[in-house]
Every structure is written in C-alpha cells, then in structure tokens.
Symmetry: C2
Subunit: 289 residues, 2 copies
C-alpha cells in the first residue's frame, strides 16, 4: 500500500452502504397512502414484493388508488386508520415503510419494528431510518442510485443531470434485450461452469462490444434466433447489425480524449472562417501587388 | 394516469430495492479475510461501522492485514477458523457478510443469521443473499451504485464507462466542501425550519448554480469565511469566484445540443483545411488568368 493509499484508508468513513435489497415475493408493509405512500408503492412494485398497504380509504392519493386497481396481484389494502403502533400486524412482514404525517406515531412504529428486527424506513425522520432511499435514475432493468451523504440537495441534482446526460435512454431496453438473448443462448447451449459457459460469455461480450446500445435495444425474437443460428452456431461468429438486416447505426467512435470529438457546427464554422480569412488576405495582397 | 403510464405500472417488476443502509456505529461481522474479505472491509469502513473480523491469521490477504493495522479504531480481529456455523457469536451483530471459499459453511451461516433476523450477504451465493453489493463508483462523499439486475456484466461495464465519463472527478471534493460551507453557514445563521432555513437553502443553491464544480472543489476555510462575510451578510449576495480572488475557471456553457460543443483539435483542423483549400483554389485560378 502506498502512503497516499494508507492516508485514504485512514480517512475512510462518512458514507452509507449502498446495496440492492432483494424483495422478490417478500412482504412489505407500507403505512400511509398519501403522496409519499404512493411513491413507496411504486418503488416496491419494482421489486416483485407483495405489498400490505395500511391506510384509511378516504386519505388515499389518486395514484395510490390507481396502483390498488392495477396491481391487485401485488397489493392488499387494509382500510384502517392506525391509532396505536402496538396494533400493527407484523407477522410475516419483511420490511416496513411509514409514510405518515404523524412523526410521533412513526417513531412508535419504528420502535416496534426494531424490537422485531424488521428493517424500517420512516419518511421524513432520517434519524430513525435503517436505510434511505437514495436519488434514483431508472430505465427498465437499469437502476442507478446515488447519494451525496446529506451534503446538499443541489449537488445531488447536479450529479443527476451529469449522469442522465451521459445516457442515451436506450440503455435500459438494450440491457433487457441482451438479458433475453443470454437466456435464449443458454437454452440452445446449456451447461453451467466449464468451457460452454466461458464460450457463451465470450460471445455475448463480443456482441455487446461490436453493436451499438441503440442497435442492441432493437433486438427481437427473430433477430435473436438468427444471431444464434448464423453467428454462434457458425463458429461463434458475431454478425454485424447490417448482416442481420438492421439499418446501420452510427459507429461507436473510440475517441479517448473528448477534445478530439468532431462536432459539426463549430467544425463547419471553422472551415468557413478559414476560407473567409484566406480570401481576405489574398485579396488584400492582390490589391497591393 | 395515461394509458402508457398504466401499461408501465402493470409491468413494473424485476428489480431490487437500491437503498443506502445506515451502519454508523453498528456492528458488522465479516467471516473470512481473503481478497473478497478485504473488499468487504473496505466497503464497511466507508460506513463508520465497527467491524468484527472472524478469520484465521494465516489466511489473511495483505490488504486485510494492512486494514487491521491502520484501522484498529474500527476493526477487531478474532483469529479463529470457523468450523461450525453454530459457533458463531451473533450477540449485538447488525449485519453479517461471509467471504469464504466454503459454500456449505456459508449457507449454514446464512441460515443461522436468518433465524436471528440479521441481514446477511454470502459472497458468490446470490440466491442466499438478502442484498447484493451493486457496481459502485465512489468519489469521497459521492457514491453511485448501479445495477442491471443480473442482465449481463458487459452492459454493466458499459454503463459504468458512460457514468464515469460524465463526471469530471471534482464532484466528490465539491460536495465535501459545499457540505462544510453549509455547516459553517448554519453556525453563523442558526435556526431550523422557517425563514432562516429557507434563506440559507436559497443562498446555497444560488452559489452552487453560479460556481463551477471545479471551483467549488477549491473552497477552503478562508474563502468560506469571506463568502459568508462578503456575500451572505451583505444582503445574501453570491460573489463570483473572481470576487473571491480565485482564478476564473471556464464558464459552464449551457449548450443544449452536444454537436455545438467546441472541440479544439477538429476545429483548428477545419480552420487550417479551409485556408489550404482556398489557397489552392486561388492559386489555380491565378494561374488560369
């Protein structure tokens, strides 16, 4: 370890542990169905968990109501106003999220959850939370979460802009299609571990490197079949998008330094400026002669 | 809700819950001190948790050894080879991470943790994990985690490149300094809620918007004091970086379309090309005349 590295290690701290919590088919209790409650429902729907919503019907946010109608498969609603944290039913519950206007009741719920060792988040009471929801960017299966560890919402917004601008918006769909292709390939060439598995991974990697994200996003059942038949099965070749009859998308140009990227407007302007300058100089010179 | 939005809600799923788990002064048990173990130690040191490392001394990775020497304040080492998951001491432990080569023992540890309702991650056995460590980008207080939900490591690498390229590398330091300035301002103008709090937030926002990230990263004690004295205290003004005697950094140019950005190399090349073309044309024309 270098001196600089040792200094870094000595000063490590001040962060939280950003993790991807697994909730598939787990049970999450959400207390409160207002605006925050509706946001919590949406976050949890992403995870394939089952949601128990505890909230009086008269206070439901319109989005909460719509979620209840559209996702009967995942949400059960208990129409009740919780008065006392001890009345809460925690049997079989794996996580609790409070979305209440009442900080006292929220704090009581947190303490009941603690005694049952159930992870809990209380909206608006950071000190009582086992975990926070970071700022999120989502695009289908692609999830990005970031945290400035409480050092200012403005800086978080700035970081969000930078990240969002760096993505084309096709990454989510590309990731989804590549995932489907992987499954398909595994069906055709099964086997875990060993050579097949490595060969599959190599071929997928080559494909992802050779094709644009935008093109990967357009993969469909038919093209996947052909990719496997005309590429994988014929010597593990990686056909080009053009081979597959997809209209050619722009090449990924591997400029390593951003200041060499060609941007049409300034480049054309500079060219025209070069013409004008030279013409003027030559005209002046011609007059002098 | 629009039809498209309803369709989206109906198909929500397939993700995990990306959260910022709070571990300050909590106790995390790490079983195993090899390479993965050393990575786990580093992740947890970020969070200001206390680490109990259970691993035999002879199998420690060099980085693990260095962590033990440098961070005695946070790590206690139990020099023991765990043979039986039931021998594990879980009293007062808030999270368990296994980093073992032995999947059977790992699985047993997971099941003991489950019975104690302690969140657990078993390296290399995703099916047994309560949570995963996503792919991370870190720059001081700035943490970015992303997940493609298992849809391919290649796509994750691609997303990492895009995100990393979008950041200048000064964001972490800027966030840290802005955080310190916030604390300083709060000392000078205390008060929670109400007008002062709003005014503070407005002033901080204006400052973050007006100054470059690169300049915010250079804030020091002295400049912070002056910013408060010459800006905040004088009618909540936001001085420019130049006012503060900082060398002017490049303006943030709000080009909304990337193809208008000026890149020096192609621009100069186009200018020179313009000169050459015109000179040639004019020379040809001059000869003809």
């Amino acid at each position: 370890m270098s001196d600089a590295e040792e200094q870094r290690v000595k000063s490590l701290g001040g962060g939280s542990l950003l993790i991807a919590w697994q909730l598939k088919d787990k049970r999450v209790l959400i207390v409160g169905g207002g605006e925050i409650g509706s946001q919590r429902i949406e976050s949890i729907l992403h995870t394939d968990a089952n949601i128990c919503l505890l909230a009086p019907s008269h206070g439901l946010h319109p989005r909460t109501k719509r979620f209840l109608e559209l996702r009967k498969d995942r949400i059960t609603h208990t129409d009740r106003t919780l008065k006392n944290a001890d009345d809460i039913e925690l049997e079989g519950i794996d996580m609790v999220l409070t979305a209440l206007d009442d900080p006292v009741l929220s704090a009581e719920i947190v303490s009941v959850c603690r005694s049952h060792r159930i992870p809990v988040n209380a909206a608006d009471i950071p000190d009582l939370c086992d975990f926070y929801f970071g700022a999120q960017i989502r695009d289908g299966p692609l999830q990005i979460v970031f945290s400035t560890n409480g050092n200012g919402p403005r800086m978080a917004a700035l970081v969000r802009n930078k990240i969002q601008n760096s993505l084309s918006g096709h990454e989510g769909e590309a990731i989804r299609q590549v995932g489907l292709l992987r499954i398909k390939l595994k069906e055709k060439a099964p086997g875990v571990g060993g050579d097949v598995s490595k060969e599959r991974m190599r071929w997928m990697t080559k494909l992802c490197d050779a094709w644009e994200v935008e093109t990967l996003a357009t993969l469909d059942e038919n093209i996947m079949e052909r990719l496997i038949k005309e590429g994988w099965e014929k010597g593990r070749k990686v056909p080009t998008a053009e081979d597959m009859g997809l209209r050619p998308t722009k090449r990924r140009i591997n400029w390593t330094v951003p200041w060499t990227e060609v941007r049409p407007i300034p480049t054309v302007a500079a060219f025209v400026f070069g013409i004008i300058t030279t013409t003027m100089l030559m005209t002046v010179r011609a007059r002098r002669l």
